[in-house]
Symmetry: C2
Subunit: 469 residues, 2 copies
């Protein structure tokens, strides 16, 4: 990249925020799993929508490609530049203001660079609740959450980021600013642009701000860890939990035996919260707007009924907030714990709820056929039909040899998913990692429409190139 | 239109379903309010997605414009051809199969021409619930509901049509078929095409089928009609109802004094269900998955608390299913009742909940200034911030003279709506009626993006021309 261009970009954000020093840039290029090794000559840290607009104007005039980046926690390489070193990385970290917190109206206007946990805290301090919750909430940013249509553990009751957003502010690839910061739930005035930018992984524009919904803060929580013998039983438990819990059921996470064991080992726990070992576990979370008593009562009814009907084998209710946190930590650390067991091949899939038992059984056969001895670490947001179906290498196997099976394994598991009319990327998106998958499994007509939209909004192809399409 | 072309279209659907007889066509051109007087030489009634595809192929080869039509109940002229007589009307009435009803998975695959009430009944017979509900449910069709992103009375608890749909099948303007009939809630594989076609009013393609969510059937209902003194009090009541009712609050409809009086007159009721007259009324609907007892208990708590805190003046709880229906009929007949009182100028707006009291007060001043003596008939889905803010002519005024104020009134009321960051078309869409409004109030950048999308998907401009853009 020519020095002159770098200087022009620098003028927009100020010397301190246009970074060319590769040591300082390095953390932005670090990709958690080590799958992508992007390069960039320049990192820009704008502090306002106007600056982002100027950057995109200059970028389109000079056909410079731009890679927007939030907290750099995405799992498919969507936030990483490619290896050509010709893209500028646009960090949104300084657009981090909560512009407005409307408590009566239960919404907040939030800039893209606000860290999810900061918004959660801000809502909490105001006796409100922002429900999006995921393992990376301490560092991921709202803009990334929107661009990837983040899901997480509260989707069951509150929906994905798509459902949590009322309106957007977006800078288009040519610098125009779309101000669609609506404060209302219902708006049928023309095409749904909001949902087009949400989940587009920064390939159609840069989300700079959003209107997000806030909710009444639940006043009481109850959490249980349940042991049961099969996914089919877990499905019955879900049905009971929905019947007795209704909207109070805010979490329903499935964990296979190995998932929980890995998490317990990682946490250096000598024993499980449950007395005996079970083939499968479910974490149930009940939230009440009234208080802990109601939450505990509802949870007890669900558990008693499930025991009575032999749906579950055992259950333990968290006795303190600390223990509630611990149960959740077990669930949240599975990914990290899995790393210690060697190479793993991952799937982020969704199938219709009723197909989960068959899927899990048939997928296990596929795994065993492709890599005898490989260990299935299956867990996830069962209430949404969304499983993280991960495969850890056989004990003692060569990690690199195992990882060479990645695309064959993906291909087979995803074929099974598509057989059930499911999704081969339920919540992590496409990025760079699943582009081939998209070409293989998405209908050609859907791809053509996406390409048409991309061309209409980003005719020069400068917006996060090489991602999704 | 040349006879040869008519014959080609006829070949696709069969002689009995290509109609050129203007007497038979007339009902399809009848527009409820008499605002639009479209013409067409040909009405096609295909019976399959393949036929729709062939029709669109021929249409694009011959540059023939096509106007898809559902139950012809839309309120903005979106389903009507223009007066040039050059468009073919495509009635979806024969694509009326429920392709699949998956009770365990709680979803249905439904063709576009299925009548909403038929789907409601089918779900009900299977102990399930399809929540979309609106005044025209006996004749409106699922395809139209999707194309207009229909709202109605259950949005508060279940969302708009957008939220009720998991996936779509769409025939594109050139005849290609997009099969995006997903069965899962979470799918982050590329741009959100589903939400692009939903609410596009048939200008981007023809929706031929959809996967729709079903819900557990509520086992008990409780409905009350409440009298109170102001919209501010209604807002407090909503807050209490949400606090004590949570997800069980499935309806919250505001009605001004005049709205209810007109409905009572229309129903030829001598007296209101409430003993005294009030300035404002609210219909509260509570649904319970457990049974009527729970619904009544929750409703009682809400009403007692509201009386205790002087939020409401009086309330009557429906004593039978028949009376519940009657309360709802009062609400649903306001539009019809209003017709008897002369000309009316309508608005379908949304403002943030907390702005509703100010909006109603300021809008009344605007109405009085533009048309002294005009009567405000304000009612609607207050729980969603969505009001049908209609103005009936002054008593004894000349209806035509009054209706000449339509665009001036719209302009002023919609300006006020936009001041509150609201929506000038909350649920009825744009169609032909609100195109000028769209150009006036939508941001130019949003319009440019919409035009770009339209051009990408329908480069020949044959798909429902003259609507939205």
């Amino acid at each position: 990249m020519e020095q002159e261009l770098i200087e022009k970009f620098t003028k927009i954000v100020g010397v301190g925020h246009a970074i060319t020093d590769q040591v300082l840039i390095a953390p932005y290029l670090l990709e958690e799993r080590g799958l992508f090794h992007g390069k960039t000559p320049l990192l820009l840290r704008p502090s306002s929508t106007a600056e982002v607009s100027s950057i995109m104007q200059l970028a389109s005039q000079t056909r410079t490609s731009i890679v927007p980046q939030g907290g750099n926690t995405g799992l498919v390489g969507g936030q990483q530049p490619d290896e050509s070193g010709s893209s500028v990385v646009l960090s949104m970290e300084r657009l981090n203001k909560v512009r407005c917190l409307n408590l009566e109206g239960n919404f907040a206007v939030v800039e893209a660079g606000v860290i999810l946990q900061d918004l959660q805290k801000k809502a909490d301090e105001s006796d409100r609740f922002f429900p999006l919750s995921l393992a990376s909430e301490g560092s991921c940013q709202i803009g990334g959450n929107l661009s990837s249509n983040a899901g997480g553990t509260a989707v069951l009751a509150y929906g994905n980021m798509r459902e949590l957003c009322l309106g957007l502010e977006v800078v288009l690839p040519d610098g125009r600013i779309l101000d669609d910061l609506r404060f209302v739930k219902k708006d049928n005035s023309g095409y749904d642009l909001k949902n087009l930018f949400i989940g587009a992984e920064g390939t159609l524009g840069v989300i700079t701000a959003a209107v997000l919904k806030l909710f009444p803060k639940p006043k009481g929580q109850a959490v249980a860890l349940v042991g049961l013998c099969s996914p089919a039983k877990a499905l019955k438990l879900l049905s009971l939990a929905q019947c007795y819990g209704g909207g109070m059921l805010t979490g329903f996470e499935l964990m296979g035996k190995l998932s929980l064991q890995m998490a317990l080992d990682y946490k250096m726990c000598e024993r499980s919260p449950l007395e005996h070992e079970h083939e499968w576990y479910v974490l149930i979370h009940i939230s009440s707007l009234k208080g802990e008593d109601e939450a505990l009562t509802v949870l007890s009814i669900i558990l008693e009924e499930s025991l009575h009907e032999a749906v579950i084998e055992d259950a333990v209710v968290a006795q303190s907030l600390k223990q509630q946190d611990f149960f959740w930590q077990l669930r949240e650390t599975i990914s990290s714990a899995q790393k210690l067991a060697g190479g793993s091949i991952k799937h982020d899939i969704a199938v219709p709820l009723t197909s989960i038992p068959n899927f899990i059984s048939e997928a296990a056969d596929i795994v065993e056929e492709i890599s005898p001895g490989a260990r299935v670490v299956c867990f996830g947001h069962m209430g949404d039909g969304n499983l993280h179906y991960n495969i850890t290498q056989p004990i003692g196997a060569d990690s690199e040899v195992f990882l060479q099976l990645w695309s064959r394994m993906n291909q087979s598991i995803h074929s099974l998913v598509m057989h059930y009319q499911g999704a081969f990327s339920a919540e992590h998106g496409i990025g760079q990692l699943k582009r081939r998958e998209l070409r293989t499994f998405k209908s050609p007509v859907a791809l053509e429409i996406m390409q048409g939209i991309k061309k209409a909004l980003d005719p020069l192809g400068i917006m996060n190139p090489g991602k999704i399409l």
